[in-house]
Every structure is written in structure tokens, then in C-alpha cells.
């Protein structure tokens, strides 16, 4: 059987919603693609664009940010800031040769374990279509 390409996804998940949803998916024993490395952050608004770039620079095939639905942010407007940064960063990544499907922002509440499964499975499928990324060249001298 030919080996299936396993894309690596770094997921920054909000402590108050998407991380709990991923937890729920686990306790509900939902089966989904094992390609996600979850990083818990206090808010999607905490995700510095540098985190996303670093993930790509270190070889992630995709980056997922999970936050609370609009209006539901634990800190009032962190997810709106995340959305603004996401929209601008997506445009910048495009210019850098990183396709839209590699970078995704999703609103997933603590009750939506099923949605975690759908989003991750869908993202893995799209990343398989895109194939592995060209690695980032490191410096000549440290």
C-alpha cells in the first residue's frame, strides 16, 4: 500500500472555546485525522502573526486558529482582532507563496466537538491535495 502523505497542522486554540471543543471531541470519542498539534492560547487574539510565520518556517504544512464565535469572546473583542490580523496575514502569506488553504481561522464554540472533527478532516484533505511545502532555507552562519 502506498504511504499516504501526512500533513502537519499547528493549531492555536482558544482556551475558552475551541480547545474545549477539541477536548469534547476527545471525550465523545469522535475519530478524526491525527494531523493536528494543538497549542492552547488564552484567546485567538493572543496569536501573534509571528507564531504563524514561525510554524510555517519550521515546517508546518498548515496553521489553524480556533476562536470563539463573534460576540462570544471571553475578552470582549480578541476574536475580532484575530480576524483582522488573519485577513491581512492571509494576503501577505499569499504573496509569499503560501496558499489560502494552508491557513485557516475557524469559530468553534465549546459545544461544537463535531465541528472540530469536520474542520480538521477537511483541512487535512485540502493539504493532501496541495502536497508538502518547500522547506524554508536556513542561514549559512548561526
Amino acid at each position: 500500500m502506498p504511504e499516504v502523505y501526512q500533513p502537519k497542522i499547528v493549531a492555536f486554540l482558544c482556551n475558552w472555546c475551541t480547545y474545549l471543543a477539541a477536548d469534547l471531541a476527545g471525550t465523545s470519542r469522535l475519530k478524526y485525522a491525527p494531523n493536528v498539534r494543538a497549542v492552547r492560547v488564552m484567546c485567538s487574539g493572543r496569536v501573534d502573526p509571528q507564531f504563524v510565520l514561525e510554524a510555517f518556517a519550521r515546517g508546518a504544512d498548515g496553521v489553524l486558529i480556533g476562536g470563539c464565535h463573534p460576540g462570544d469572546c471571553h475578552y470582549q473583542e480578541g476574536n475580532y482582532k484575530a480576524l483582522r490580523r488573519y485577513e491581512l496575514l492571509r494576503r501577505l502569506l499569499n504573496q509569499m507563496g503560501i496558499e489560502n488553504d494552508r491557513f485557516r481561522l475557524e469559530w468553534i464554540s465549546a459545544a461544537e466537538g463535531e465541528r472540530v472533527k469536520t474542520v480538521v478532516n477537511d483541512m487535512v484533505e485540502k493539504l493532501r491535495v496541495l502536497g508538502p511545502r518547500v522547506p524554508v532555507r536556513r542561514k549559512e552562519v548561526a
Binding site: 502573526p49 509571528q50 480576524l83 491581512l88 501577505l92 509569499m96 503560501i98 524554508v136 549559512e140 552562519v141
Partner: protein, 311 residues
């Protein structure tokens, strides 16, 4: 014996050389205090003069410009060996600078664009038994510290006279700054901005505008007027010269010491002030930002986390 000093330029526009001359009378004091042993733009020394010197015999070499050809690559390695201190002078040497935007393309793409349907330079030319070789043109432009070890950085496009003067004073002083230091204040430009007081507590922008689209008010915060001013994330030290000229900061002094990727940080600061909570109003605001890489990585693409466009 006076300490030996050298200057070299790589992929640059010559503005950094101007910045040295812009020291005016103070330049004479510098020249009196040192012996200049190599400075291609101004003095007639040859590469073999440098090669003939013992290793480490030059006190300090100031290198401006990014590294994009094999000749520059060889020269900076030679100068590194001969110098006790290497200073990346100006933002092109520090972070890659404007020439670094070529990292959105590669050698083939650039040659196709520049020499379209014309004569493309050949690396090796033979004529009457003589051969003339051109340096290799790399696919990727690098900041200086990606090629050699760099001791200090003098930021700016070009470094302003006060920064150059302070840097020279620091290097000639009894106690050298810590290795790797950027010789400029480690705080954001907004701190030095003459319009600081006019920056609103809650800054929100409905629509970004490009400089040619508006006549900016001369007193109030440029970011609050919808111009992409990079002061919030850019290192201070230039005395806000562009702002005094009613132009927004484009980030030529690079980041402060806490930031790894300058463009990402400016992008973050810029996106945060957008007055909109849904895709369509955010997209509307971003109409004035047609070129995020050219705006946020204007001077720093080679030293960014990704470094170049990935194919």
C-alpha cells in the same frame, strides 16, 4: 598608530555612503582619528591591499548593502577575516533592505523582467583568448549576518547623522557596546514622535489610504488619519524625520530587540486598528493595502522568518 577602518558596499543604492559624508565637519574628526584602509566609493585601494593585511588588523569595517552576488559574498568574508569588528551599516546590511524585496522572485525571474527580449548578460565572455567573468547573481538576497558574523548594527535607510555620530563615538570609546547590539534607542518611534499627544486613546481606522490619495494634516497622528504609519513597531532614533516631513514611517529603522519578525509585528499593529468586525468591512479597510509584503517587509524580507517567497 591610528586604528584602521574600512568601508564596503554590497547591494545598495549609495545612500549609506552619502550618510557618512553627511557627517559634515564631524567627518574630519573621524578621519583624523582613524586610518581609512579601504573604501571603494571614495578611495583608490584594491582588493589585493586588503588581502595583503594580516587577519584582524582592521579595527572596524562598515559594510552597507545586502548580499546578492558571489563577489559580495567573497568580499564580506574577506573583510570579516581582516576585521576585529564588523558593523552592518544601514538597513540593507542589517535586515536585507529594499534589494531584499527581490526575494519575491528569483534570478531567472528578475533577468526575464529586466532584460526582456534584450541581451541577457552571460557569466563568462571570451574574446581573443581573454576571458571575462561576471559574479554569480544569487536567487536569494541575504542580510549580512546570514553570511558572516556581525558585531554591531547601525539601522536606517540611510542611518541618520546623529545615529552615525553616536555609533562612531560608541565604537571609539573605552567600553564597547555588547556584541550584537543595534546602535540606536531600544524603543518605538511613537515615543519620539512630535505628534504623540494627538494619538487617540482608542485608535480605529475605517479605511487605509495611500500617501498620494490624501493631503495629510500636519499636526495629528498619521495613523489616526488612515495612513499606514509604522511608528508603533519601528525602532526610534531617526528623530521622526519622515513624520516631520508629513510622511508616515515606513519602518527603515527595523524592529526593537523584542521582535523577531518585523513585518509580522507591523502587520499585527496595523490590522489591530481596523474599525470593522466582519469580513466585508475589514476587506474594505484593506483596499488601501494592496501590497502587504512591500509595505510591511519593505526593508526586512530577507531577515524575516520565511525569508523569501516559497515556490
Amino acid at each position: 598608530m591610528k586604528p584602521a577602518i574600512a568601508f564596503y558596499w554590497c547591494a545598495s543604492c549609495g545612500g549609506c555612503e552619502e550618510a557618512v559624508v553627511d557627517l559634515d565637519e564631524a567627518l574630519l574628526d573621524v578621519v583624523n582619528a582613524v586610518e581609512i584602509v579601504f573604501w571603494p566609493v571614495a578611495l583608490d585601494f584594491k582588493v589585493k591591499d586588503v588581502e595583503a593585511r594580516p587577519d584582524g588588523s582592521i579595527l572596524a569595517t562598515f559594510i552597507n548593502g545586502a548580499v546578492r552576488t558571489s563577489e559580495q559574498h567573497e568580499m564580506v568574508r574577506l573583510l570579516r577575516a581582516k576585521s576585529r569588528v564588523v558593523v552592518a551599516f544601514g538597513v540593507c546590511a542589517q535586515l536585507g533592505g529594499i534589494p531584499g524585496l527581490a526575494n519575491l522572485s528569483d534570478a531567472k525571474g528578475i533577468f526575464a523582467e529586466v532584460y526582456r527580449d534584450g541581451v541577457t548578460p552571460q557569466r563568462l565572455h571570451r574574446h581573443n583568448g581573454h576571458a571575462l567573468a561576471l559574479p554569480e547573481f544569487f536567487d536569494t538576497v541575504s542580510a549580512l549576518d546570514a553570511v558572516i558574523d556581525v558585531d554591531y548594527y547601525v539601522p536606517g535607510c540611510p542611518p541618520t547623522p546623529n545615529i552615525v555620530r553616536d555609533a562612531v563615538t560608541a565604537l571609539l570609546g573605552a567600553e564597547l557596546p555588547p556584541k550584537g547590539a543595534v546602535l540606536a534607542p531600544d524603543k518605538a518611534l511613537c515615543e519620539q514622535c512630535p505628534r504623540k499627544e494627538t494619538r487617540p486613546e482608542k485608535l480605529l481606522v475605517k479605511e487605509f489610504k495611500r500617501v498620494h490619495q490624501v493631503v495629510a494634516d500636519q499636526q495629528t497622528c498619521l495613523l489616526a488619519q488612515g495612513l499606514v504609519c509604522q511608528g508603533p513597531a519601528t525602532r526610534a532614533g531617526c528623530d521622526a524625520r519622515c513624520i516631520r516631513g508629513n510622511m508616515p514611517c515606513t519602518g527603515c529603522f527595523g524592529p526593537t530587540s523584542r521582535v523577531r519578525d518585523f513585518g509580522a509585528k507591523v502587520l499585527s499593529a496595523t490590522a489591530s486598528v481596523i474599525d470593522g468586525n466582519d469580513e466585508s468591512s475589514i476587506a474594505q479597510a484593506m483596499n488601501g493595502l494592496p501590497d502587504p509584503v512591500g509595505t510591511f517587509y519593505r526593508y526586512s524580507l530577507p531577515s524575516s522568518l520565511l525569508g523569501r517567497r516559497l515556490e
